[in-house]
Every structure is written in C-alpha cells, then in structure tokens.
Amino acid sequence: MGQIVESFEKVWAEADQSHPPKNFVRLIRKELEFLPWPDRGHEDFKYTNLSKYLNSPFISSKKELFQIENDNAYHTITFINGYLTSKNVDTKSIQISELEPESHFLERPSTQILSLLNWAQGSKTVHIQVLSTCTKPLFIQYINVGSDSQSLIQPRIAVALSPHAKITILEDTLDMGGSGGFVNKLFMATLAEGSELNHYRIQNEGHKSTSNGSNQVEVHRDAIYKTWHFNLGALLGREASQIRLLEEGARAQLKGLYLSTENRQLDQHIEVFHDSKNTYSKQHFKGILRGKSKAVFNGRIYVAKGASGVDARQLNNNLLLSSEAEIDTKPELIIENSDVKCSHGATVGQLNPDQIFYLMARGIPAPQAEEIICRAFAEEILFSIENLDIRKKVTRACAHVLNQGGLYAPV
C-alpha cells in the first residue's frame, strides 16, 4: 500500500507556488508524511478500502468561471471546482470572507485523516458569519465541471453562528463533468448560545467520483443543530459527521437517507459527543440498497464522565433490494456515566412480497410497486424536511436515483 503523501505531493507543490504554505499547513503535512492509507484494522475503514479509490497521484482542479443563474429564494454562494467564485448574499446578517487556514476555529478540531488532507492543501477557508437570524436560506452550491479523473476538489467552509442567530443552509452539488476525481469537502460550524442551524446536505457527485464530506459541528449552550444528509451520488460517497454538544442544553438532530445502487458504496459515519450534562441527540438514518452496492452505517455516541441527564437516541433502518447488496451497520455507545438515557437500534429488511402482490393485484406493474414501497420507506425522512422548496429539491434528487438505478447508469 502506498503512502498518502505520494498521492498528494504534486497538488501541494502546485498550490505552494501561488500561495506559500503557512506553518499550520506544514505541520499537518508533516503529520501525514509517513502515514499509509488506513487499512481495515482502522475502525472507521473496516468496511471501506480507501486506498482502492485514492491511490493515484492527484492534480489540482482547474479554475473555471462562468455565470450562474441564481434562485432568489436563497442567498447563494457558488464554488466551481472547489473554488469560491461568486457570492449573491444581500443581507447584513451574513458576512463572508476568506481566511488563511488555521486550527483554532473549532475548540476541538478533528484529526481524521481526510479532514487533515483538506487542510494540507493550504487553501483559504471560506468563513461565513451569521450575525443574526436570517429568514432566507443560504444555498452553498458546488459545481464541478470537466473534472479530470485525477482532479482534486477540496472546498473548506467554516460557519459561525452568533448567539441566538438562526439560519438554514443547503449544500448541493451539480456535477457537469462526470469524469470523476476526488471531492473532499470540509464543513465546520460553531453554534453560539441559543443559536439554531438547519443544515441540509445533498451528496450528489458524479458516478465516477470519490467523495468525502467531513462535517464538524460544535454546539454551545441551548443551541440546536439539525441536519439532514442525503448520500446519493459518487462511486464511493462517504459522509463523516462529528457533532460536539459542548454545553448544557445543546441539542442535535441528525437524519439521513442513503440510496446506493450498482457497484457503489455509501458510508455514513456519525459521532456525537455528549461533552456536557443535559445534552440531547437523536439520529435516524435510512438506506435503500440495490444491485451489488454497499453501504456502511457507523454511529457512535460518546457520553463523557459527569455528563448526567443525557438523552441520546439512534436508529438505522435498511431496505435491501438485492441479494448481492451489503449493509454493514454498527451502532456504538460509549458511556462513562450512569445517569443517561441511550437507545440504539438497527434493522435490515427486504421488500415484503405480500405488499408487492397486493399492489400488483391492483394493476400496478412490479417495478412501479417496488418504487412505491421504496418511496414510502424514504418518505419518513423526506417528510421531516421543514423547508418545502428544499424538500422538493431533495425528493427530485432521490427519485432520480430510485427510478433510474443510479446517476449516469446505462439505460
């Protein structure tokens, strides 16, 4: 197995020419220097052979510029090939700047390998400050065009919500190239006292891409973080969340849907840290798997010493539509306290033949009957989307996968 550095040194050298790396970036690269790709012995990669997807030398994605039509229902910021290209934000509640990479945005930044790789590029962080409540949602749009199969796209966003500010953020991808590459997004957020973030993420990369979305959130006193992950695209689509409930009254609600088809693999890694007493979290993830696809659900809940009065729930349901599909679901509870309420559950099922027969006996063809039942399974998550326009967007994206058996699938 090759070293990580071999795949990335070319990109780093290129980046350094226009933007000499800061000390922080040099330190991270040094940390990565002798590391091999994590193997199956690493708990997070037990079911995912990362080197299979990332073991080729990457090149920087090209900078492209073109006009995008903006939807007035949203404030919009656009990244093309991972570079911030336009901001269409007409409120003083949101301030956007680009900052040198630095470590101290989060109190406890992640040391996960893929996050470190994002930092190691040395590019600037897009910093979004939400100073007060913003009624119009913020749409973070990633557009990937004409990407090379070895191109590397690594946007990095840090969102800071001021005390009592509220906002809805939607992240979505439009892949126009479809030739693959590695997309390694890093999204960080810190929620100050009493603030509220509704965060929707649609992972909809092209079918040949490898995608990782790291999502690191710190929730302070009485703040509420709600997120919905839709893991739909890519050959390997990995979503990794680390949510820290740092102070009393902090809450997190995580919902997700993954629709895996053909020979693809979709991973969800969720870690919720109950660092303080009286913190609350709820997770519900559902998956539908077709063909020879794979999915992983790895949900970990930590309850720290002294964190009494914690309520943490986790549920994962899966629907396997083929005997060759594989789901690895692994709920974990690490509790260092007795005064807590924790629950977790996982189910894996197949289509109920009685239900299919019932629909067919009413004239509905088998493929449509299957689709109706899958949709019903997914709707439990879809109907929890509070913003109706976003619900429509997500439903359309999910229907696309369910109907056609996968993006860019041969007809």
């Binding site: 027969f357 009413r362 063809p365 019903a376």
Partner: protein, 250 residues
C-alpha cells in the same frame, strides 16, 4: 366471459384444486361455499396470480377484447388491468403509502393499459370523492396509509372502494364477510350491490349463508376437496345452512 376448465393447482407440491370447472356470465353473481380447507381461497389466489401457487393443468379463460384468453399466462398486474379483481380476505397493510395515491397509481395503470388518458391528481381526487359518496363512505379514508390501523370493517370497505374505482369485470370476493359485525357486513354488501351491473360478474367466497342474505347470488356452488361437488340456485345455500356440509359431501 369467464371460464375455468379442468383446473389443477396447489402449493408446496401439494395439489389443492383438483379438476375445477366453472363458467360465469356477465351480470351474474356466483357464490362458492365449502368447508375449511376445501380449496376456496386457493382458487382465488390462483386466479389472481399469486406466485406461491402452481398450476399443473387446465385453463382460466377471460374475455379480453372479445377473445377468450388464458389469463394464467399473464402476470398478476396484467390480469388486474384486464378486469380481474380479488378482494382480499386479509387486505395487506402498506405503511407509508397514501391511500389516495395508491388508488391513483392503480387506476392510471389500468387506464394506460386501455389506452385512455391518465388522470391528474386533482381530477382523480374529485372522481374518487364521488365514488366515496356513492358508497356512503367517509372521505378520511383517502388521507390514511393503505390499510394501516384500519379496523376489519374499514379494510373490507377499502377493498370495495378500490373495486368502485377500478370498475373490474370480474370480482372475486374472498370471505368479504369474515370478521365483520352486522352493520359492517350490511355496509360492505350494500357497496357491492351498488356496483353490480350487466357488464360485470361477482364470485363470492364464503362459509356462511348470512352474506347471501344481503348479496343474493344467481348460482351457488359447493366446494369440496378442490372441486365443485354440487351447483344450484340460492336455495342451495339455505340447504347448507340447515343441514351442514356433511350432508352434501357424503
């Protein structure tokens, strides 16, 4: 319109229907009665096309576009779109699927088959509400999930509603009376009676004469050991009621 010729069928390698013959004409109501295990429900599943049942011999012919065709060669959904309707003894619950949307998917699938324009959501809802009114039902059925948390009576009424929406030509009602109190039974029977016409036919599968007080059959057949052992008019049902099946079988 519908004819079964020397049908032999079974499940798990065991023959249950052993040489069944039956002819049904448009406008007729037939009742099939018989003791437990005589093959009544198997007959309904075989006609609807349930995959667990195997047919070893015989034909099930239905008039499709003025030609008698063997529907055993068709998939269950094709049979349904060509006018065969099985009202289930135990209607299946389909969680998460809205009853109105289910009805529309079903109705439009049949329309497509017949080359008729499909209905959009708004016109379909208006169409269904008329059917609901016609059957004396409550519109709240439509917003619920298919058969989920329905009482026994509601499930059976939902089957009648589906029948009203799809206007099938051959309706097989598998123990539509089971698990119903008298009021529900009357309501269901009343719905069926309203749907009777010169163009369609009904086969009622039942244990009891009671249903036949409300839906009066033209012909009654007594089933035993996978075939019809006796046919007659509605008076045959009364005979069963007073003398029992044993009297007819032996």
């Amino acid at each position: 319109m519908f004819e079964i010729k020397n049908l032999h069928a079974g499940i798990d390698g065991k023959e249950v229907i052993k040489g069944l013959n039956l002819t049904v004409n448009p406008g007729e109501v037939h009742a099939i009665m018989g003791p437990n295990g005589s093959g009544k429900s198997t007959f309904s599943k075989v006609v609807a096309g349930h995959a667990d049942y195997e047919v070893s011999e015989g034909q099930v012919l239905l008039d499709i576009h003025f030609k008698m065709k063997d529907i055993l060669l068709l998939a269950p959904d094709e049979r349904a779109r060509n006018g065969v309707f099985l009202a289930f003894q135990y209607p299946t619950e389909v969680p998460g699927v809205n009853n109105l949307e289910f009805l529309r998917a079903s109705f439009n699938a049949t329309m497509r088959e017949q080359g008729i324009q499909e209905m959009d959501a708004t016109s379909f809802e208006a169409f269904v509400l008329k059917k609901i009114e016609f059957l004396g039902m409550k519109p709240d059925f439509l917003a619920r999930q298919v058969n989920v948390d329905f009482s026994g009576g509601e499930k059976k009424r939902n089957e009648v509603l589906q029948m009203a929406v799809l206007s099938p030509r051959l309706c097989i009602l598998d123990e539509i009376d089971s698990g119903l109190d008298v009021d529900s039974l009357k309501a269901v029977a009343d719905g069926v009676n309203r749907l009777r016409s010169k163009e369609n036919a009904f086969i009622l599968i039942t244990h009891y004469q009671r249903l036949l007080d409300y839906i009066v059959p033209d012909k009654v057949h007594i089933f035993n050991d996978g075939r019809i052992i006796k046919s007659g008019g509605k008076e045959l049902a009364k005979e069963v009621e007073t003398l029992g099946y044993d009297h007819l079988i032996h």
